[in-house]
């Protein structure tokens, strides 16, 4: 299995579905377990997009308003592909799944649910998640499920940019001023205990064989690269083991309900309406 991303970042998608609408119209129908896997991946992207979207008009510099909105938009795109595809298994639309699923049915990891905090914490969360996602999608492009492979291929090109953005900021903040180093270190310390959850082999992934990527296989390459950047930035790897109490099975963070309350409020006030 190749770790190099740059070949695939420039490879053209082979005519696979690349918009949520095309996936919905393609007639592709996901198996139940595959759909649950797509939902898990899609929930991570959706929740992180929701978090990053809150930076718009609040970023430290205008260029960062553009960059963070752009990353949020990419992630929202991935979420739309994945939720749409998941929905084909149960005749549900992306919006049914995003707006009318209860909190306990989401499968998002706690890392993406963490509050934005200051820019240092957001960058710390972003570094971890984009490095993880890059390793994940680099392998998912070889999925035997052609829709998932096509989604991964499209997403990978974008995540390549996300991880570059996060790594550049990690260096600037780590090596910038004492204050910035202190803040970004505090950001890493704040979210680090949620890293292990990303690499937990949970169902349905364990039943999916070559359709999915086993999270535990991502642990070593992701952590190696994270350690490199964090050390290069003159920061230290937080010394803590994974926070107990969640394995994507519904025992989620306290924040999830608040995120969804805001995201779903208008749609739920008008059930059955089209927008």
């Amino acid at each position: 299995m190749s770790f190099a991303s740059h070949d695939s970042a420039t490879r053209q998608s082979q005519g696979e579905a690349i918009t949520a609408e095309e996936i919905a119209a393609s007639g592709a129908k996901a198996e139940d377990a595959t759909a649950r896997y797509a939902l898990l991946l899609g929930d991570d992207a959706l929740i992180l997009s929701q978090r990053l979207g809150a930076w718009v008009s609040r970023a430290p510099e205008l260029e960062e308003d553009v960059a963070l909105a752009n990353i949020a938009l990419d992630l929202l795109g991935h979420a739309r592909f994945l939720l749409t595809y998941a929905g084909t298994a149960w005749d549900k639309s992306e919006d049914d799944l995003a707006y009318f699923r209860p909190e306990e049915d989401f499968r998002s990891c706690r890392l993406v649910e963490q509050e934005n905090g200051d820019f240092g914490k957001t960058i710390a969360r972003q570094l971890i998640f984009s490095f993880y996602q890059h390793e994940l999608y680099s392998r998912l492009v070889h999925s035997t499920d052609t829709t998932l492979a096509a989604i991964a291929e499209k997403a990978l090109k974008e995540v390549d940019y996300h991880q570059d953005h996060a790594a550049q900021w990690m260096l600037r903040l780590g090596l910038g001023t004492q204050e910035s180093a202190r803040r970004v270190q505090a950001g890493l310390d704040s979210v680090w205990s949620y890293v292990e959850e990303l690499f937990t082999d949970v169902e349905p992934i364990t039943e999916l064989g070559d359709i999915a990527v086993l999270p535990s296989t991502l642990r070593e390459p992701t952590l190696t690269r994270l350690h490199q950047v964090i050390e290069q930035a003159g920061l230290s790897i937080p010394d803590m083991s994974g926070a107990h109490g969640a394995d994507r099975s519904g025992r989620h963070s306290e924040q999830r309900g608040l995120i969804l309350a805001e995201m779903q409020v208008l749609a739920r006030q008008h059930p059955g309406a089209t927008w």
Binding site: V66, F119, S180, L266, G272, A273
Partner: protein
């Protein structure tokens, strides 16, 4: 040369020869500037231009940039609650475009010699003006539709002629901005169209939003021609091509068929086709409200500025870190360079 320049660079008697040369240069510059304006071509950053032209442009372009930046707030506040993922994606892209427009415009103003930091400071301290429409709240999702259709619609009518503005960097920035604004207006119209043809509650939400934003949108063209102190000079310099009232009329004429297609109405009982003029007549606008909002007494004038200041304040340490890192990187480069030369 303008009086301002004399203040900055006082001439001494001993420099009489230089002074005469400078005067001749300024005269040649003035002549060339007038030629450019007369032949309708572009003034570029390195060209000589009257100080008052430069000042007027900096004012207009930076106000426009500030409007894009403050304009991100009312719409940004609906990103988290957009009622479908598709609408959320479109809105996010739109607000991102606005940040981009701010960037082009600040850059255009920078070519006139005004540093970006200075413009930020003027917005921060409340000295700078921005379009007063953004001091109104976006209360409902339909307001996002009304802002797109009416506010971006008015912006397009105002801005399309600015693509031919005599100052090159401004005109060229406007070409790109107008393309994106027309997409923004369409998405606003689509939001309202879906709402208008949706449930009763959605239809009502759409109508109320149009009722709220119609008047303030018409006021985006500025005060009536008789009360617009800067318009005349701006027209002579070919920065502006049409008067405020001409543009307002054009906008109303454009809205009437569109609102019919939406299945909504405009909140003006005096709105009526005038065969003789070939235009729609429309009722007086509330100019007292307009001037009150401009003076900082809009519904959200203070909150918009507070939001902006908070973001600047909270981001200060990040900007300082970026500068420190860049300085460090360039010191390292110098060091590497010195090492190479030493070797």
């Amino acid at each position: 040369m303008s009086p301002q320049n004399h203040q900055h660079a006082p001439l001494h008697l001993a420099d009489e020869g230089d002074a005469a040369a400078a005067l001749a240069e300024a005269e040649a510059g003035q002549n060339r500037f007038e030629e450019i304006i007369a032949e309708d071509s572009r003034v570029e950053p390195r060209d000589w231009m009257p100080e008052s032209y430069r000042k007027s442009l900096v004012r207009q372009v930076s106000q426009h940039a500030h409007s894009e930046i403050i304009g991100m707030q009312p719409e940004g506040n609906w990103i988290s609650r957009a009622p479908s993922l598709k609408r959320k994606a479109i809105l996010m892209a739109k607000v991102q475009d606005e940040a981009g427009h701010g960037l082009y415009l600040y850059s255009a103003a920078e070519t006139l010699g005004r540093p970006r930091e200075e413009m930020y400071d003027q917005l921060y301290t409340g000295k700078a003006k921005y379009s007063s429409i953004f001091n109104y709240p976006a209360r409902t999702w339909a307001d996002i539709g009304a802002i797109g259709w009416l506010v971006d619609g008015a912006a397009i009518v105002n801005q399309v002629p600015l693509c031919r503005a005599s100052y090159g960097p401004y005109g060229r920035a406007m070409v790109r901005i107008c393309k994106e604004e027309s997409f923004h207006q369409r998405q606003g119209w689509e939001i309202l169209h879906s709402l208008s043809h949706g449930t009763q509650a959605q239809h009502q939400m759409a109508q109320e939003a149009v009722d709220r934003f119609y008047g303030p949108a018409l006021q985006m063209f500025g005060p009536p021609d008789g009360d617009s102190p800067n318009s005349q000079q701006s027209m002579e310099w070919k920065i502006k091509r049409f008067t405020n009232d001409e543009l307002r009329q054009r906008f109303v004429d454009m809205l009437v068929p569109q609102v019919e297609a939406l299945g909504l109405t405009l909140p003006d009982p005096e709105l009526k086709w005038n065969e003789e003029r070939g235009h729609y007549d429309f009722g007086d606008l509330d100019w007292d409200e307009f001037f009150a909002v401009i003076k900082g007494n809009g519904p959200l004038s203070r909150q918009r500025l507070e939001h902006y200041r908070k973001a600047r304040d909270e981001g200060a340490w990040v900007r300082e870190a970026a500068v420190a890192y860049a300085n460090r990187a360039s010191r390292n480069e110098d060091h590497d360079q010195a090492a190479l030369i030493g070797a």
